[in-house]
Each structure stands twice: as C-alpha cells, then as structure tokens.
Amino acid sequence: MKAALRLLAAVVLTAACAPARAELDTMAQRMRACETCHGDRGRATPDGYFPRIAGKPAGYLYAQLLHFRSGRRQHAQMAYLLDRQTPAYLMRMATYFATLDLPYPAPPVPQASPAVLARGAALVRDGDPGRRLPACTDCHGAALTGLQPAVPGLLGLPQDYLAAQLGAWRSGTRKAREPDCMATIARQLDAGDIEAISAWLAAQPLPRDAHAPAGEVHGTLHCGSLEPTR
C-alpha cells in the first residue's frame, strides 16, 4: 500500500513538474531579466525612462546589443548583462523582442506648449532644408513606425528617452556605425530642437498598423547602420 502510494505520488509529481519545466524553458522566461527596466515583455513601464523594445526591428535591436558591448552606446548595466553572451544568443534576444506584437498604450498628455509642439511637428515632417536637416520621416518611415530590418520606429517612446538619445548623439556618447548619419543630424540640432522633436514624438498615438514595414529609406545621407550587421 505504502509503495503504491509512493508510486502514485511520484507519478503525480512528475506530471506536475514536467510541464512546469517545459513552460519555464522558454525565451520569454529567459528574457524576464530585461523586464524590471523594459517592462512586461519589453513593452516599457508606465513611468519609466527605459524604452519599449517590443516590436522594434530585429536588425536594429541586434545592432544596439552589440553597441552596448563595444561602447558605441554607453550603459554600464546593459554592457554588464550582455558581455559574456554569444552573438547567436544576442540575435535570439533581438528576434524575440522584435516578434512581440503588443498593443501600445495611449501617449501621455504633452506638457510642452503648442508652439513647441508645432516646431517639433515641422522638424519631424519636413526637417529644415536651410540647415540641411532631413525630415525624420525620410528614414524612419512615413508613419514613423520604422523600416525593416534596421530602422527603429520613433513613436511610443518616453520623451526623456528620446531627448537623451538625441543629446547623446550630439555629444558623441552614442554612436552608430560609420558613416554615422544620426550623429551628423544631431549635431545640427540645438537644445530647443531636441526638446521640440522629443515632445512632439512622445505625444503621438501609434497608427492602427504600428508595425515597421519593409521599405526604402529616402534620406540623402549615407548611413552605416543600414548596412547588414556583421
């Protein structure tokens, strides 16, 4: 009787544990390490600085992971998390987050004045030919949702994050592969431009189709980040 009970217990335990094990042995579970900062499955946290990564193009995400390791992007915590992993695993991470198709929350109510927002809208849509500033839409897609496989969308990101990235590009602490067209552009921007662009972008709702389409970049600048990542 005791033996039978023990056997029953073993069978029940095995049955209970086996699916649990398989359920845990997933990319989703592995990538929970990213969620304290980047939010549930990479959809960002409501009040955070850290960007949403869910649904960004895989080529862009993979390049960023490599950049954190090489110092093109400077973030000690990210470098620490990524330093001792294989490129194949980094690519799996990028692909995992790229394929997540999660809804976007409504954008926050903008704090900036209408004049600032108007200046931002004009720079994003038209650039400034006088300063040879291209429009964001030239490269980041007409809907600003990015282009596959390497151009990120610019919507659904916190204003602080957007402003910090443009500032970092301007000062040279963030770099892309040469020729670094974003650095060329950011160096043309002053603090007011950066505030206006980031305020307007952060206030836009996502279009119904928020995916990054495949498409041609219309910019005139040559961008190293569009070359396939080696």
């Binding site: 649990a20 094990r21 845990l24 042995d25 990319m27 579970q29 592995r30 990538m31 929970r32 390490a33 990213c34 969620e35 304290t36 900062c37 390791r69 090489s70 110092g71 093109r72 000690a76 915590q77 470098a79 620490y80 998390l81 330093d83 001792r84 992993q85 294989t86 194949a88 695993y89 799996r92």
Partner: protein, 423 residues
Amino acid sequence: MTRSRVAAALLFALLGTAAVLFGDRPTGDNGDAPQIAADIADPVARGAYLALAANCRGCHTARAGVAYAGGRAIPTPFGTFYAPNITPDDDTGIGRWDADDFWRALHEGRGDGGEPLYPVFPYTHYTKLTRRDADAMFAYLRSLPAERRENRGHALRFPYDQRWMLAGWRALFFTPGVYAADADRGAQWNRGAYLVQGLGHCGACHEARNALGAIRSREHPAGGIVLDWYAPALDVAREAGLHDWTHEQAVALLRDGQANGASTLGPMAEVVHDSLQHLEAEDLDAMVTYLQALPARDPAPSPPAPATDATIAASRERGGVLYRDHCADCHGRRAEGRSPAAPALAGNRALTMDSAVNPIRAILYGGFAPGTHAVPEPFGMPPFSAELDDQQIADILNWLRRDSAAAVVRDYDVRRQRTGPLW
C-alpha cells in the same frame, strides 16, 4: 582613510626605505614541472593555449579595444591600474623585448628596465611557470599584429605610486621560483597545482590579501574582495569549496559556468566565458583534482545575531513580504528554486556565506550566467537597483539568511555596492 589603511601606507614606506638591502631569492627550476598542452608542437599555437588558460587578454584588452593592446582599468584599494599594451609594437608594446625580458617579467616581476612591477600583474603566480611555457607565450604574443597604443600611467595614491618602495614588498612577500613538483602526489594533482597556482593564477582573487595587497597564505585560499566582488574561499565547504561535489559537477561549473545549483557571476563569469570553457578536458580534470584535494578548512562563523534583536526580526519580516512580491515568481514561494529558470535560494551557499557582497550585487545588477558551449542560452537575473532601495535589499537578504549563521546585512552594506565599475 581608515586606521589600517594609514598603517599599511606607513609600513609600505618604511619597508621601501629599508629593504633595498634585501635581494630577491630566486629558486631554480627542478625540471619536473607538469607539461601543459604537450601535444601541441608549434610553440606559437602552444603559447596561444597557455595565454588563453592564463586569460592574459582579460586584463590586457580595453572594451572594444584591440586584443592584448592594453588599456583596461583595474580598480584596486591602492588606486587604478591600467594594463599595458603587450602586442609587439616597438614603441608602445613589447616589440623591442626579447625572450629574456619576457621571462624576467613573468618569473621575477621586473620590467625591461629592471624596475619592479606592481603585483597587480600576477607574477607572484607566473613565477611558477617553466621557461619553456614562458617562451611559448612570448612567441605567441610576438605573432600578434603590432598595435600602436600608448600606455596610460597608473593612477595610484601616495605612497603606492612610489615604485621603488616595491623592493620592500618583494622582500617580504615574493620569492621567485618555478613550480617544483610534489613527489608524494600524482601527476594529475601536480598538473592541477601548476594550473591553479601558476598559469590560472586563481589565487590572485581567491586568496585573502593583507592590507598591503599581499596574499596571506598560498596554502590556504581564503577569499577576499577583488573588483568589488567577494572571491569565495576555495577550501571552505560553505563558500566555494568543491570537496563535497562530484568530480563531474566541479568540472561542469568551471567549464559550463553553472552546475549543481550554482552559477558563476561577475568576474568569475568572465573567467569561464573567456578562458575556462576553452580548456582541454584533462586540464579541467587536473584543476578539479587539485581543488578537491585542498586541505579543507572550517573557520568559525561570525557570532550569530541575537534572535531577540527587534530590528533584525523586523527586517526579516519585511524581507519575507518583499521576497514574495519580487522574487517568489521565479525562485519559488519557499525559495526552493524553479528549475531550469531560477536556482534554489534556500540553503544556497552563495546566500548563506558570511560575506553578503555577491548576493547584494546579484540583486542590484542582476546578470546572466556566462554563455558557454554547454549552456549557450543561459537564464538571467533582473537588476533591481532602481526598483528596490538599500534597506529593502538588506531585508530580503536577512530573510533568506535567517536560518544561517551569516552576518546580518545592513542598508549601508548595500549602499557601498552602488558605486564603482561593473564587472
């Protein structure tokens, strides 16, 4: 500056003035040291393997820098050292060195001008290498492309910036000498000893150092703080001793970065990733044979906190609640772990050893186990530095450590780990 720091600085200065009288006491090569990678005939290829086993590249390469071209900052209690360029560039590297110069650096800890080298370069370990191995490593380094990269001067505090005073340190703490085989031990043990004590310089982190940065005892690897992490003692069962593990489990930990419910993090994850996972099976076997044969120590734990201390009881109680909210999802309600995603924390010696430095850093900065041949897609721990404050992290650890004799964790223990470079 603490009193012990002042005393150490004074002692350093005194020794320096007195000890120019003392010479180094070299001991000869008995010719019986183990042969590593003996099957590789080409000295350059053999040197490449030896350099990999010694992980020269780890310190001598800056982030995104050219391999072996130097520049990585090594923070220590004495200041920051910058590893030099060891590519064969004539002006900034070791292009003008010959094999004798290289031997003098490894075996005697002296630069090409005869100047004493700082022991952050682990010549106290490399002195055990045979001339044959040193020559092979030199041949390998000479085969690398020369990279012109100016060396950066070390940024050391007075009086440690007075290089001539190293003469005193060396007189006290350094005796050059090639590894002499222990005839009472087998070939595998001797091979392991050569790898652990010499080439792999495990003791550079895992042996306790005194206030002058000298390893206290070569026979008793006792652990110590290095690169802001606690390198646990290799001869104590409740730290990193491998005595109670099977041989295969111990090999797996060194090779795969995780085994038997333990994962390597921090600098040790780098050692596994960059060096140990690439070693020949017979070398890992030998290291484990040696490590498992270390005379086990059982030092008295620090006295347990009085159970009646209300602040500790309150901290543990808060910790239990915080644990449920932040940790239980992955590590289980009773900290029993959820394989394969998260290890058990109950009874895990990484948590119950006296030093709380490593679990504090694991909670603050998270981290993945190293990606290795055997475990190419390891699970990761999220960083909680933004989500939890110092007291909350201390509370969680006090709850997890409640049944052990480990020291109570205070908020300032956590605060101390919030600054400095991440390794």
